[in-house]
Subunit: 327 residues, 2 copies
């Protein structure tokens, strides 16, 4: 079953078995053949948990991500995983369902399981978690998020600028009453709100807080936001949803309420997931370089896993992706 049995049956030492298994040292062809033969015949399966214990390395990376904007996060994960897997790492995914408390427990979980590094895609302001992150012994890269005051490397876009550009885009289409749907109280959302405000101010349009609607970055919450706007009789000629998934919900609800898109209401999304090209109408959106974010986050982590230091923030370019929802 174990290396010991293999060794005995092949008439060699466990050291030799270990060496042919890992190719760490030269082993004579004869012994190699003998060992391999026994391994094959016995159907021996190496025990990586024992291996991890002595190496103090699990070849596992922890990934903490929120359960909203699934298509966006999933795509980042997909690209990051591809790189990590190629480098011999597996990934332990933690999907944060609810509150900050949950980030805490996932962090503990990953640490107890001795992941070699972490990709963090979920913001938190929990001071205890922040403290833990700060004195983390393992490399961590923040992906798509910014946790101010933490000197960890980041890979993301400039959310302020992106929202500013998105808002400008809507303004350039003669929109005056732009509802903004997003999650407030977090760094990313708040920065985007600032970008929106700045663009409005520059256009000489007064900020109206009744147009700022809280959303949970799900299709359903996009739909609810529109319901709210209409129920409260808040006039609006555009919706800027801070995730494409919310935008999908927004469009569905608008159509259901008999509104034309974009004739009555223009809709602009955020993220640039594939789905936006398959909706009817197609979705204009502020596009994040999703693939690049995933790849670069993984590569950055790998570099750190290989001993490189990094605190650098990598800001990737966003762009406006046109669609029939804004015209």
């Amino acid at each position: 079953m174990g290396i010991k049995e293999i060794a005995k049956e092949a008439n060699v030492s466990v050291a030799t078995v270990s060496r042919v298994l890992n190719g760490t040292k030269f082993v004579s062809e004869e012994l190699q053949r003998k060992v391999l033969e026994v391994i094959e015949r016995q159907g021996y399966v190496a025990n990586h948990v024992a291996r991890s214990m002595v190496l103090k390395k699990t070849f596992t990376v922890g990934l903490i991500m929120p359960v909203v904007s699934e298509l966006y996060h999933q795509m980042i994960f997909t690209h990051a995983e591809f790189i990590l897997e190629e480098a011999g790492y597996k990934v332990l995914v933690c999907r944060v369902k609810d509150t900050a408390q949950s980030v805490q427990s996932y962090l503990d979980l990953l640490l107890e399981n001795r992941v070699d590094g972490m990709i963090l895609m979920h913001e938190t302001s929990n001071p205890k978690v922040l403290e833990q992150l700060k004195k983390s012994q393992i490399p961590i890269v923040l992906t798509g998020i910014d946790i101010p005051g933490l000197s960890l490397p980041q890979v993301r876009i400039d959310d302020y600028q992106a929202a500013y550009d998105g808002t400008k885009y809507l303004l350039s289409h003669e929109k005056k009453r732009i509802a903004l749907i997003g999650g407030w109280g977090y760094s990313v959302g708040d920065k985007r709100l600032e970008g929106y405000k700045t663009a409005l101010a520059e256009a000489g349009i007064e900020f109206d807080s009744s147009l700022i609607i809280p959303g949970f970055y799900t299709m359903q919450s996009g739909s609810q936001a529109v319901k709210l706007l209409i129920r409260e009789r808040i006039g609006f000629d555009a919706v800027f949803a801070l995730s494409d998934e919310m935008a999908v919900g927004v469009m569905k609800e608008l159509l259901e309420q008999g509104k034309g898109i974009p004739s009555d209401v223009a809709v602009l999304g955020f993220d640039g997931i594939e789905l936006g090209q398959y909706t009817n109408p197609t979705l204009a959106t502020v596009k994040q370089p999703i693939e690049q974010i995933g790849i670069l986050a993984a590569e950055r982590l790998l570099a750190m896993l290989n001993g490189e230091e990094s605190e650098e923030t990598l800001i990737l370019p966003h762009s406006i992706s046109p669609g029939n929802s804004v015209r």
Copy 2:
């Protein structure tokens, strides 16, 4: 750093530290307090890989799933994970990108990492893999799939019947030329094809193989299937896409080609993911009990992890979920 340091500092044995850590045996309040104090002060983090080695249990479940029909598989994963997590298990996700070879290597990976059990959502016909699955020492439950000849427990719907019912539904809406898009050569797809054929035969409609289009269960491939049908001038008044994601691609392409849905072409999906209610028009679909599949698969696995035997196949009921894409 380790339990040994904690023990020394608290003036107790490592056994005692282990006991208060795990609550496995009664420890006097005084020692307990002392140990806890040191643990807290030192910020000790338990090492679960060492723990796993001696316990021969990793509290990890492996999940092998395809990278297509992501929203469907993701939802099953979501529900299964919820149950598993509650029971103290974490899950190691393997997302199969390409061929059968890849299932093989993921299987090896999971076995080497000593997962306690596995949920398999990806079909395979690779004989070596089949052999490995057959003599698996750990519990495995097949989820949403059927691998004939393997006496492993399954949780899924009756794919034959579901496709039969879906086809009947389209037929009852006076559709005569129903294109079927799916993946052939696999158990699930082939069964659905049989259901389709039977329904057609019962309705006295001759089977036309030019209406059977291969697809990869992605939005893009749904779109391509429609392009193919139109390019080849194959007349059709309905499309039965064997995943909702393909159906979304189908609808997008139909609209783009100026076809009315359902006036010119009715579209029926398969799976019943949330997105179908957010498309325009809303998607009629053959609905799988996704939540139940996920939950029951996880519960079944947990039961086996607790020593229960099971080879039972659990067939869950499907249903037709109406939508404006079929009227």
